[in-house]
Every structure is written in C-alpha cells, then in structure tokens.
C-alpha cells in the first residue's frame, strides 16, 4: 500500500487519519465525562446549600440576587458560537474549506464576546464572593463558565489558525469536529448553570435555625 494510493495518513504514527480521529473522539468524550463530574460537583454544592439555608446564610445581603438575563445572554452567545462551528464542520465535510474558515472565525469572535460578557458579569454582581452561600455558589458557576469560555476562545482561534495553515482539510478535519463536540458540551454546562441560578433563588428552607457568628 503506497502513500500515494492510501487515504490520508497521520504523520507521526503512519496510521490512517480516521483511526486517529476515532481515538481522539473517545478521548474527548472521556474529557467531557471528567469535566462534567466537576460541573456536577458545583451544581451539587449550589443545590445543597440552597436547600439547607444553613444559619439563614443562603440569601445575599438585602436579597440582592443576580440579574437573570446576563446568564442567558452568555448561554445564547455560547450556543451561537457552537452553531457557527458546526456549520463550518458540516461544510468542510462536503469539501468547502472556506466555510469552515468563516464558521470558525465567527465562532471565535462570538465566544470571545461571551467570555468578555462573563468577566463583566463577574465584576458587576450586586454582591461579593463573601456575601453568603448563594453569592459563593453563583460566583463559582460563573467562574466555571469563564474558564470554559477562555478555553473555547483558544480552541476556536486555533481552528482558524490551523485551517489557514492548511492543517485542516476535507480529508482530515477531525480536530474541528472535536472542538465542536467540546463546544456542545460547554453549552450544556453553561445552560445548566443558567437554569439553576434562575430557578433556585429563595431557599425552600425559610425556618433554618440561626446560630449567629463567632464575631457576634
């Protein structure tokens, strides 16, 4: 089997790129499982503290809850960016390299905007991280989304760079697909954060015993 007649080969191991792509796909799925467990840990923390309202310390001072729409705006941005990336991936599978370039570039810009929006939201919450359990849990859900978005900014920009450099071709576009897969997961993670922070505000346990603080 000569190199000229065979399908595209992976340069470091000499395997067909499809073999390599299958392996990478499983790797990304496993990364998603691992990362999702971390997100679940944050959601468990949120629900746990919300349901207990220990020492009546769930609510932020003066009940200044976070405004809902920024969470949803960031989720919408993430979903839009993901759609753009999938559009590009579907296009390159049909041989349109230019469309992947456009899709990845758009995706990269939208995700960057979502990332900046997330930073703005973090710095404009009507409470600080020390203002009770709700504030702590909400801050960390937002920080997790910010970390995810910063990684996506890098990945989507890299797909633009790799497409420009000719490393992503119709025969070998698995990396773009993997990034799109990861983006889809990030959408779900951000969506869950938005749902939790929107739906679970006032704690159901309004008669929690108050034992004060050491300072008092």
């Amino acid at each position: 089997m000569s190199a000229q007649t065979s399908p595209a080969l992976y340069p470091t191991t000499g395997e067909p790129v499809e073999v390599n792509a299958r392996r990478n796909r499983l790797g990304v799925w496993l990364c998603i499982v691992s990362d999702a467990t971390g997100v679940v840990a944050l959601l468990i923390a949120y629900v746990y503290l919300w349901s207990l309202n220990v020492n009546n310390g769930w609510a932020p001072p003066k009940n200044h809850w976070a405004v809902d729409w920024p969470f949803w705006a960031i989720v919408t941005g993430t979903i839009l960016g993901t759609i753009c990336m999938w559009w590009g991936v579907k296009a390159i599978a049909k041989g349109h390299t230019g469309r992947l370039m456009v899709g990845a570039l758009l995706s990269s810009l939208i995700i960057l905007v979502a990332f900046i929006a997330q930073i703005v939201q973090l710095s404009t919450f009507p409470f600080g991280p020390t203002d009770g359990a709700y504030a702590s849990a909400t801050f960390w859900l937002a920080i997790a989304t910010a970390i995810h978005l910063s990684l996506l900014t890098f990945l989507t920009t890299a797909i633009v760079g790799r497409t420009r450099a000719g490393r992503i071709t119709p025969d070998n576009h698995s990396h773009a697909r993997l990034v799109a897969m990861w983006m889809t997961y990030v959408c779900v993670a951000a969506l869950l954060g938005a749902v939790f922070t929107t739906v679970m505000k006032e704690s159901p346990n309004q008669n929690a015993p108050t034992f004060g603080t050491f300072r008092e």
């Binding site: 089997m1 191991t13 000499g14 392996r23 499983l26 496993l30 499982v33 503290l49 220990v54």
Partner: protein, 650 residues
Amino acid sequence: MSQTAVIHEQKAVPQPKQHGKPGGFLYRANIFTGLIGGIGAAVITYAIGDKLVPWGTQNADFSQVGLNALVFCTFAAWVIGFMVGIGAFAGPIRWALGHDLTHVDAEYMAGKGQGRMKYWKYTTDHKVVGIQYLIMALVLFGFGGFFAMLIRTELGATWREVFDPNFYNSLIGTHGIVMIIAMIIVVAGPLGNFIMPLMIGARDMAFPRLNALSFWLLFAAVPPLVLNLVMGGIRDGWTAYQPLGTQAPIGMIGYQVCIITFAFSTGIAGVNLITTIVTMRARGMTWARTPIFIIGTLAAAIMGLIWFPMFQYAQVLAASDKVLGTSFFIPQQGGSVWLYENLFWLLGHPEVYVIVVPATAGILELMVVFLRKPLFSYKLAVAGFAGVVGISAVVWVHHMYMTGFAPAAGYPFMLSTELISIPFGFLVLVMLGTMWRGKAWNRLPMMAVYAVIIDKIIGGITGVYLSDVPVDQYMHGSMFVVAHFHYMLMGAGLFAAMGVIAYWFPKMTGRMFDERIGKIGFWTAFLAFQVTFLSMFVAGLQGMPRRVLQFDNAFEISNWISTIGAYCIGIGMLIFLYALITSWRGGKIAPANPWGANTLEWQTETPVPLANFPVLPVVTSDPYNYGVPDPYLKVQEQLDQDDNETVGAR
C-alpha cells in the same frame, strides 16, 4: 507536505514542514529549565503579591485571607512556571499555530538518541514515563514511610512527648495523603504506562504528550504538599475536614494546590489509559482475550476519571473559602461541612478501589504464570471488577455514620457497603479457584500472592464489621479503623505492588531482580506488618482513639509492639529497596521472557525497542492457555510440514 518519512520500516508517510531542530522548544527544555521556571515564577509572584496583599483581612473563621491568597498564588505560579519551563505548553501552541509534529519530532520527543537524559525531559515514550512514575512512587513511599516512623516513635515513647502536638498532627495528615498518592500511582503509574501498552500489543499510549503531561503535573504537585510541614502543617488528617481546613495554617494551601494539580494529572492519565485500552488492542485481542491486568487497570481508570473531579472540586471550593473568603463550608456564612464530606468521600471511597483493583488484577496475572494454570473463571473476575466499579459509587456515606449527616441514610449505605463484598468475594474465589490443585513455582512474585490473600481476608472481614452502623458507632475514630485500612491499602495494595514490580522488573530494567535479598526484605516487612497492625487492632478494640499523642497506660503494650513492628517494616522495606537498586544497577541480564509467560509484553525483546514490536502482533488465543495446545500452531505446523513435503517432492 514536501517530504515523507518511513515509519516503522513499513510505509512512506507524507510529513509536515519541519520547524527548527527535532522537538522544537523541547530540544532545550528539561527538568532544570522547569525548576528555573517554577521557582522563578513563584518568587516573582510572591514578591509582587507581597506589595499588593491587603494584610489583616480575615474571613468568618478568622483565617488570614490576604496571606492565604498570596501563598495560593505563589504555589499556583510554581506549578504553572514549572510546566512552562519543562515544555508542557509547547505542544498546544504548536498545534494552534498549525506546526504539527513530524515523525522526526515525535521520535525525538519519545527520547530517541538522548540516553539517560530522556528521563529528565518531557519525554513521551510510555516506557520512560513508566520508569519516571516508578521512581516518583518510590520517593513518595520514602517520604511517607519516614513520616510513619516518626509517628510510631511518638506513639512508642509513651513516657514523653517527642514532637509538638501540632507537628504530630501534621505528620499524621502528611503521611496519610503522601501514602494515598503513592498507592494510587504505584501500580497504575509504572505498570499502567510501561507494561499495559506492551501487553495489548500497541506501540505507545493513545496520547503520548498527555502521558508526559500527567507525570510532570504529578511532579509539580508534590513540593507544595511536602512544604506544608514547614508552613504550619495540615493538622486535621489527610481528609482535611472542614471547617478545620479553613481555620488551618497556610500549610493547608499546599495540600489543596497539590490535590487540585494531582487530580488534573489523574484525570489526564485516566483518559489516556481508557482510550489506549479501548482503541489500541492488537488485532485478535477481543475483550475475552484481554489480560486480566488490563481489565483491572481499565476499571481503576474509569473510577478515577469519574470520581476524582469531586475531590478536586472539594479542594477548589475549600481553597476558595480560604483564599477568596467564600462560604461553601463555613456554617456561619451559610456553608455546610457535610457538603465537603460528601464531595470528599464521593471520591474518598472509590479511591480505595482505584488502589486495590489494579493491584488485585496484577496478582491474578501473577497467579496464572506461577501456577501454570488458566485463570479460574475469567468472566467471574471481570464481573467482580465491574461490580466493584458499579457499587463503589454508592458506598461513600459509610464514612459519615457518626457525623450526624442523614442518620436515615445509614442503613441503605450499610447494605450497599456490605454488598460490595460480593464482587470482592468473586475475586477471592477466582484466586482460590486458580490455586486449587495448582503446583506453585514459588518465586518472589508468587509469595506476594500468598501475602495479599492473607491481608485481603483480614482487611476485608474487618471492613464488613466497620460497615455496620452499630459496630461503627463503637469503632469509629479508633485504632481499629487505622489497622483495617492499612490491611487494605498496604497489606493488599503495597505487597501486591512489590510482587508485580518484582515480576515485571526484568522487562522494565533489562535485569533480573535479586530474589534472595528481595525475599528477605519482603518477608521481614510482611511479618513485621502483621505484628504492627494486629497489635493495632487490639489497641482499637480496647478503645484507643486515633490521631492522639497521649493515651492511657492501658494501651502502652500494644503501642510498643506496634512501634517495634513498624521499625521492622522499615528495615524490611529498606532491604527490598536495596535489592531493587543493586539489581537495577548490576543484576543478571534478563532474557526476553524469563518466566515463560504467554502475554504479549514478554514476546518482544528486552530491553524493549522504541517502537515496542518490529511488526504489530496478532493475537490468536487466550493469554492463559497454559497447558492447552494452540490450535493455530497446529495448523501452522501442518502447513510447514506440507511445505517441506512439497519442497522435498520438487
């Protein structure tokens, strides 16, 4: 793609453009550049942070938030700086720029032509990473064992306080977490990396660069942990329970940074191990023909991958309470200590199986070779591992019976904990069934089998007692618990590790292990282990609490005996280590297959070449068909005979 490379002397493959020298930035990076990067980043961060920190800021637990933040950032800078210096970020940056590795780059990064220097670099070859893990595990055992000796010195010298009580508590916590990390890596690290790809007939791990990343993250995680001892220590045990963790001195931050980093390392290693096992087994190696050690490694990797992030996030949130002043675990501000305990034990218990499962699988591997018998019920062993993986997810609350958390949950969790003894029972049954009427070849690895069976039975049965809510109410927090988990982790885990390392030592080092000295060390440690921990069971049954410096005279004799036993374990381990080092340096040259084993790792030459196999193997039979004629060989013999007859006729 103007050039091609001939890979494994089989085919010409088009190559991307070569950028600079082979390996690019990694041509120059090594552990020394890593240390310069790490220490430099830490010093600069500390110097800048020192000017910016709002000194005197306290959280609700009067912990110094400003100082905590400074120490956290310094440790984080060390980890990031080290990883930059060693070259961990070169790969992602090259990928983003489209500067893909050529075959020459990949070979350089795998250590080709670098001699011993490859062990000090970001080398991707799984065999190098396996050796690095082995050395790291030995170093950690050295630290942890030394701390154990100090602890026993304090408990043996009942007439005086040898150490300050706070330092003593820190010793307990540091010994615990160092040993847990060492036990997690001692089988899955060296053998999962070095042996597993050979055993499945692969050329390397699925993601070689992630393999190097997982090791060097572990390397970077250790200094913050060890430094805690000079920074106030971790005084609330290896569990770092809250809110004590938030109130603890800054040494606790070393623990938190270590665990967060180590969890990344473990997660990456888990992704790599699972992907390699699932996608890279040799042609013909169906699941039913996959060696049992591989199944055990896969089971441990799945548990680690799923549950480690819980532990990681428990530490992220705990560090956040300490550094940012949030209130996840501070009850005065709406936090809950039970939340920490739940997140912690969601990994904390499966982690026991992450340690014990690959060790048990290794022991099963030894049994078939040294008994020259097929494994008794391969499917039962696989069912045992699957059962452990499944049930391990629903047992964590048995660590919290006495904390006041959901008393009604005690009984279902008691049931689930007792239930897990059934799949473990399968594994013991497979061991006993394999030994039944077997004629043992009593080499050192086989002796580990006997040791592990004894320890596992003692550790397992005492574990069943402790899983009962009424018994646990009496035994909780006593030395009985300490003795029980040492039987499981050290008795079943470490002695198994000694056996499997002795077994695969010839393949890993190219030298035969000095069994004469090794056996002296092994049996000294094993017998001393029984003296130490059986005596500790007695102290626990008498009611001696754990983590105490001073105790009633009633416990003196059992503590003296335990201390003498512990020193003897230390002597035994040193003898074993001596055998390991001298064999490695000047032992007898090992043949390719000294044990006459059937699995693939023994079918390639020793020392193992860079690409592992000249041609990738094809599996045609069960790995444990000892004494059963291979039908394919018969066919081959028949074909050869026919050929000869044809040639003769011509």
